[in-house]
Assembly symmetry: C2
C-alpha cells in the first residue's frame, strides 16, 4: 500500500469510496464568486443543489449570502428549516406539490418559476400565501421555458400573474445551459452577450417598471467580468467545480474542491490500467469527451498532505460499471500502484457525485451529510 | 390532470419521482430464471446488487434460492443480517475492508474473487476464517480479471490459494459484460460459446478435480437455453430488466418490472416535448443509442390500472439534467398531457435507477427501502 498514513490522517480510515471536501478551496470559490457579484453590483443567489448541505450553506452566509436557489420543493424545505428565508425554486412549478409549496410560502419569501398559463391558473386558484414569480425564459438552451422571442406568450403570462393577488411578478429568469458547450472565455462571453440581448429584448417588450433579469450558469458567472446587465446570478456548481468546468475553462484544476477517494482493487500494467472500487453508483455515468475523442469519467490523482496532488498525467477514468471503475494510467504511475492503495478521482460532474456519495469528509476530519 | 385516480390508487399520492415496482413481473422473472437454471442443472446464485432489498430477497428464497451474489462487502453484511448464509462477493477483494471480510467469513460461507498474487498473499496472512476463493477470469470483456489464456498466472494463483489453509479453491468465475454489446439470441449465444470455450480451456490447463465455472451476465442467462457447460449462473438485472436488456433482446418490454413515475412540469407541443421532474439524480445518466442514432435515457409510458401501459410510440427521454428530464413525444401524445400529470419512465439501466430512488412502491401499495 502507498504511504497515505504518512500523507494525511484522513486517508488512514478510508475503506470504501468516500467524498473528500477541500474546505479551503470551497470557501475560496464562494468568496471569489461573491466578490464577482459585488463587483458587478448584482444579487448573488447561489444555487444550493450542488452541495445540498446546511453546513456548507453557512460558508455562503459568512460570505454575505442571504438569498438562495434550489431545484426542488424538498430542498427548499430543508434550507428553510436551516434558517434560509429567501428561496427561489429554479424549476418549473410541480403542481403535485402545491401543499408543500403553500407551507413554504407561509414561512419564507418564496420564488417560483412559471412558463405555462395552465400552471398560473392553478396556482392562482390554489396558492395560500404570497409568492414571487419569475417567468422562465428559454434563451437558446432548448431545455424548457418560454421562447425569449415569443412576446405574446410572455405578455399573456405576465398579465395572468399580475391578475393574481398572491403572485408578484419579479422578472425574467433563464439558465443558459448551452454555455456548457462553449470552450474558453471568448465563447462563454459570446453566450452571455446573446443571452443578455435576448433577455433584455423580452423585458423591453413587456415594458413594465422594475422587472429583474436572473441568470444561472457557472461558466458565464465565472468567466464574464461585467455581469451588470443582469440583476441576479444563480450559479451553483462553482462551489466545487469539476472536470467538466475545467474543460470549459471555467476553473483551474487547483480550484476543484471535491473528489472521490477510491480503493484500488486490481492493477493490470500489461493493459495500462487499474481497477478501483468506485463506479456509477459513486461517480455517476456523466462523462466528457476529451480532445482525443475518448469518454472520460474522471481524472485520477494521488493522496497528498493537502488532500490530493495534481491530476496524474495521461490518466483518466475510461469506464464505469455499477461498482467498478477503470483507470487508464501510464506505466510509471501503474508501477507504484498496488491493490489496497487509494486513488483520488476528480469528478466529471461534482453535483452528481456529491449527490451519490452524500457524506462530506473534510481534510481536517469533519464529517457531515447532505440534507441532514 | 390525467385520470390516474381512476386508474390506480397508487398514483394519487405521488408528488415526486417515485420508483414503482410490479411485483408480479419481478416474481415471474425470478421464477423463469430459476426454472432455466434447474433445466440446465446449474446452481442459481442470483446477483442481489440490482435490488439490494431483503424483501425482494425473500421472493428469491421462495423460488428455491439459497446462495447469492453481491458486489460489495457492505451489501454482503446487509444480506447476512437478513439470514443469507452463502454469499459470493463478485468484486475483486478490497483489502482495505479486511476486518469486515473477516467478520463476515466467521458468520457465513463467503466466496471471494482474486486475480492478483499480492492480494492472495495479504489475504493468506490476514484471513481469520475460512473462505471460498474464485479466480476471476477475463474472457474478453476487458474490465478486470486474469486473461483466460494466461495459464502460468492462473496456475500460480491456484497454487498460492491451495497453500493457504483458510482458502478453498472453488473454481473460475467470469462476467461476460461484452454480451451487452450483442443484439439478439444468435449474437448472445456466440458470446456464450466463446466464454465457455475459454473458461473450459483455462480449467483444463489447471487440471484439478472439481473446479467449478461461474458466469454472470443477464443476456446470456436469459437467452441461452442450455447452460449446462457451467456450474453456476449469477445474473442480477433480470429481476427488473430494463430498456437496455430490451435493446439486447434479453427481455420483452412487458417483462420490465420497475419504472420511475415522474410529474410532468411543462409541455411544449411546438417543440415536440414535455419536461418532467425526473433527472440524472433519479434515473441516472445511463443511455442507449437507438437505431436512429439518438441517445435515449428512458422510455415514457402512461399510468394504467395494472401499473403502466405500453411504451408511448415514438416517445423517448432525450436528455437529463440534475432534476429535469426531456421527453420527446408525438403530437397526439402531447395533446393529452398537462403539467401535473404523471409519466412513467422505463429505465435504461434498472440497477442504477433503483439505486438512486431507493424506495420501492409496489402496485398493491407496499413500500420498502433498499438496504433497510
Amino acid at each position: 500500500m502507498n504511504d497515505e498514513r504518512r500523507i494525511s490522517p484522513i486517508f488512514e480510515t478510508i475503506t470504501t469510496p468516500t467524498l473528500l471536501l477541500n474546505r479551503e478551496r470551497a470557501v475560496a470559490n464562494i468568496q471569489r464568486m461573491a466578490a464577482r457579484a459585488r463587483h458587478s453590483g448584482v444579487r448573488f443567489r447561489p444555487h444550493f443543489k450542488t452541495h445540498q448541505s446546511a453546513v456548507i450553506g453557512e460558508w455562503f452566509r459568512q460570505a454575505g449570502v442571504s438569498a438562495i436557489t434550489v431545484s426542488s420543493v424538498s430542498m427548499a424545505g430543508y434550507f428553510a428549516r436551516h434558517g434560509w428565508t429567501d428561496i427561489t425554486i429554479a424549476f418549473p412549478v410541480n403542481l403535485r406539490e402545491i401543499e408543500a409549496i403553500n407551507r413554504l410560502a407561509g414561512q419564507v419569501r418564496l420564488g417560483l418559476l412559471v412558463e405555462a398559463e395552465a400552471v398560473v391558473s392553478t396556482l392562482s386558484a390554489r396558492l395560500a400565501a404570497a409568492v414571487d414569480v419569475w417567468l422562465k425564459v428559454d434563451v437558446g438552451y432548448g431545455r424548457t421555458g418560454v421562447d425569449w422571442a415569443d412576446g405574446p406568450r410572455l405578455e399573456a403570462l405576465a398579465r395572468q400573474v399580475e391578475a393574481s393577488p398572491r403572485m408578484a411578478l419579479r422578472g425574467l429568469l433563464t439558465h443558459a445551459g448551452h454555455s456548457y458547450r462553449a470552450r474558453g472565455q471568448a465563447e462563454v462571453a459570446a453566450v452571455y452577450r446573446q443571452m443578455v440581448h435576448r433577455l433584455a429584448a423580452a423585458r423591453d417588450r413587456l415594458n413594465r417598471p422594475g422587472l429583474e433579469l436572473s441568470i444561472g450558469d457557472t461558466p458565464t458567472c465565472s468567466l464574464v467580468d461585467d455581469l451588470s446587465a443582469v440583476d441576479e446570478i444563480r450559479p451553483g456548481n462553482f462551489v466545487f467545480f469539476d472536470v467538466m468546468q475545467c474543460q470549459i475553462g471555467a476553473c483551474r484544476e487547483e480550484e476543484i474542491a471535491v473528489a472521490a477517494v477510491c480503493p484500488v482493487v486490481a492493477v493490470h500494467p500489461e493493459q495500462g490500467k487499474a481497477v478501483i472500487y468506485g463506479g456509477a453508483v459513486h461517480l455517476s455515468k456523466e462523462f466528457i469527451v476529451d480532445p482525443q475523442g475518448r469518454q472520460v469519467f474522471g481524472w485520477p490523482a494521488l493522496p497528498a498532505p493537502d488532500g490530493w496532488g495534481p491530476r496524474l498525467p495521461e490518466g483518466y477514468v475510461s469506464g464505469l460499471s455499477q461498482e467498478h471503475g477503470l483507470v487508464r494510467l501510464p506505466p510509471d504511475a501503474l508501477a507504484g500502484l498496488h491493490p489496497g492503495d487509494l486513488l483520488v478521482i476528480l469528478p466529471v460532474h461534482s453535483c452528481l457525485t456529491a449527490n451519490l456519495l452524500r457524506t462530506y469528509h473534510t481534510l481536517d476530519g469533519e464529517t457531515f451529510s447532505m440534507l441532514a
